[in-house]
Symmetry: C2
Subunit: 113 residues, 2 copies
Amino acid sequence: MSRYCFRLRVDPTRIPEYRRRHAAVWPDMLRALRDAGWRDYWLFLDEDGLVIGVFESERSFGEAEEAMARTEANRAWQDFMAPLFQGAGPDDGLRVLEPVFHLETQLAALGET
Amino acid sequence: MSRYCFRLRVDPTRIPEYRRRHAAVWPDMLRALRDAGWRDYWLFLDEDGLVIGVFESERSFGEAEEAMARTEANRAWQDFMAPLFQGAGPDDGLRVLEPVFHLETQLAALGET
């Protein structure tokens, strides 16, 4: 299992709507994420519009993303969400961050838990 | 158990050094994090210097941070790391992000797993 982190930027003026929509994501979208192997998936938001997603998967990031991209639920959800991203500016598409530290992995390397 | 997410910004010119230091964090710092109740603690990095931390704790964010702030290992580590943050610019101190979505919580609300 690997943990992934990505960033997006939502139009800061649409943050209340972004928050409202994510408080009750469509059941079909939840099931599509689960069935595509996304686990412990969180979204976090800052007031400048920075959105951080973190999740675990047995798959590579690209495979996990592709498994979602193939679903009808995801296509509909992305269409529904697109207006909230339009004012975010250029170069604010999805970017994957590099893992640089994991506490338990380094403790294990010391022979500790 | 709650999951928390925070952001920092490292001087982009010091990213290789930031990565190198985090590949082998001091054992005393690892133990201090563990003993302060930080769990599944990850750091992720983007090439513009954005650093994202995510961890779980039984404590509030403020209590988890305060438990670390009291340790000698953390004081020494923060002194060691400070030069890597000096070129990051103003308003780039630690900021906590707001959780807006968790997949398993919403699946559970549907009576599903």
